[in-house]
């Protein structure tokens, strides 16, 4: 292979004048983490609401939940980001559209909200499955004890359901982090974007992508370890994976 390896490239100054190439990649890493965290909060909140709606006895609520899930699940994330970024400002009234277009950090907010909405569907489906996996007696017992539906969800169903779906939620969180890289198409220069920029400036393709790969692996390891710790912390003794 006649490729000129140059691993020292990371310590050479980058052309954007803010330090060396490694700083460039690390700033991308920070942006990836920030976007992913905001997206994950949105996904958890909306996913919980929609997931609960789909398990409610009310026909209207479950229909709305179903439509929400179908809408966000059947359009590719990239197209959804384009819809929020390019299409939405045009469809809004003029003033609101202008405000959206001129917003500072528009790619960051669009990416966070877009990825958050996209992932909220996955959270909702996991939560629905989690609630569905609970014995029917739990809901009945809660009702028999005189709890309202809200109380039954708040104190009985959700605390257990979330513990059940914690392992799949870990992989959904990892997907959220990975999916932020799609926002490269709307101009968010996160980790993948910085690796691509470094490749374009320095022509050291494989070093740039190797570094990005290593950083993504590190994020994965940290998240997996963190979530295992969380699983152990919240485990109920004698129940599911509790000891």
């Amino acid at each position: 292979m006649n490729y000129n390896w140059n691993w020292g490239i990371f310590w050479q100054p980058s052309p954007n004048g803010t330090g060396n190439y490694l700083d460039m990649l690390l700033s991308g890493l920070v942006l990836t983490i920030e976007t992913a965290l905001l997206a994950w909060i949105i996904a958890l909140v909306l996913g919980t609401i929609v997931g609960v709606m789909r398990t409610l006895p009310s026909k209207t609520a479950s229909t709305i939940g179903f439509c929400y899930v179908e809408f966000f699940r059947n359009i590719p994330l990239l197209v959804q980001l384009f819809l929020w970024f390019f299409v939405l400002p045009e469809l809004l009234p003029r003033d609101a559209g202008m405000w959206l277009k001129q917003m500072p950090n528009a790619p960051f907010w669009t990416a966070s909200i877009g990825v958050g909405l996209f992932m909220s569907v996955r959270v909702a489906e996991q939560l629905r499955a989690g609630i569905g996996s609970l014995p029917r007696g739990q809901k009945m017992a809660a009702t028999a004890l005189g709890l309202t539906t809200t109380q039954a969800y708040r104190y009985v169903l959700l605390p257990i359901a979330f513990r059940v779906i914690l392992p799949p939620l870990t992989s959904e969180f990892l997907s959220t982090i990975k999916n932020t890289s799609v926002a490269i198409t709307i101009g968010l220069i996160e980790l993948t974007g910085q690796a691509r920029a470094m490749q374009e400036f320095s022509f050291q393709v494989f070093e740039a992508f190797t570094a990005a790969t290593v950083l993504y692996l590190l994020i994965n390891i940290v998240v997996v370890i963190g979530m295992r710790f969380l699983e152990r912390q919240v485990a109920i003794p004698g129940y599911i994976s509790g000891k």
Binding site: V79, F82, K178
Partner: protein
């Protein structure tokens, strides 16, 4: 809101969108699904094999692919494939690889990791008595896999495999980052040429939505049908 909506731009570009763009997307989806399934099954067999080294290698590959974003993998292969080609053919310089071949290799390698996890679950869902009975009948390992285990694993996992293929269909839109004219790429080209972003992106969203909806409805029907068999 829709007052200056130009439907004509969609009608004018239909031919380009579907004959060039959608053909590319669907061909890429189908070939990647078949290739990914074959390679993925191989990875699953490696992972489940008694040989420590083989299962370690397969496990590492699957974990690596699954922890990287697809966009990064697309970039990786886009730059790596010419060098691999040079190494395989012994050419003096990195060979030129077309957009289609490059993205096909990317998606096969990437999806193989996901398909292998599905096939692994499928193989493990077959009761242990079956391969045991097969070897009692005198079938070799490859015969028992070919005739007994894999056909059943494949059938049990068919709905999951098809759902993954729908995800793959949506993911092929990411070749956009290489400016390849798949369906979305074609729509985006027209959108930028004619300054009609709203119309083209909404239309692309509708098309993806309809195709994915119909396909996942089909998968649900299929699932209901084969659920009775078991």
């Amino acid at each position: 809101m829709f007052s200056n909506f130009d439907f004509d731009v969609i009608r004018r570009s239909l031919g380009y969108l579907f004959f060039d763009g959608m053909t590319f997307t669907l061909t890429l989806t189908a070939l990647s699904a078949v290739g990914g399934l074959m390679f993925g099954t191989l990875l699953a067999l490696m992972r489940l094999s008694g040989l420590k080294l083989l299962s370690r290698i397969a496990g590492l590959y699957v974990d690596l692919m699954r922890s990287l974003p697809l966009v990064l993998v697309i970039f990786w292969f886009y730059f790596l494939v010419p060098y691999i080609g040079q190494w395989l053919t012994g050419a003096s310089r990195p060979i030129k690889v077309g957009a289609f071949a490059s993205s096909l290799i990317t998606f096969i390698m990437f999806e193989a990791a996901y398909f292998s996890e599905i096939m692994r679950a499928g193989i493990q869902s077959i009761s242990r008595g079956q391969p045991a009975a097969a070897s009692a009948l005198g079938l070799t390992y490859s015969q028992s896999m070919r005739y007994i285990v894999l056909p059943q694993a494949f059938r049990n996992m068919l709905p999951v495999l098809l759902t993954q293929t729908i995800v793959l269909f949506q993911d092929t839109s990411l070749v956009y980052v290489l400016s390849i004219p798949d369906f979305l790429g074609a729509a985006s080209k027209v959108a930028q040429r004619d300054g009609r972003l709203v119309e083209m992106y909404l239309f692309a969203a509708v098309v993806y939505f309809v195709i994915s909806c119909v396909a996942s409805y089909g998968v649900r029907r299929l699932q209901a049908r084969i659920a009775i068999v078991r």
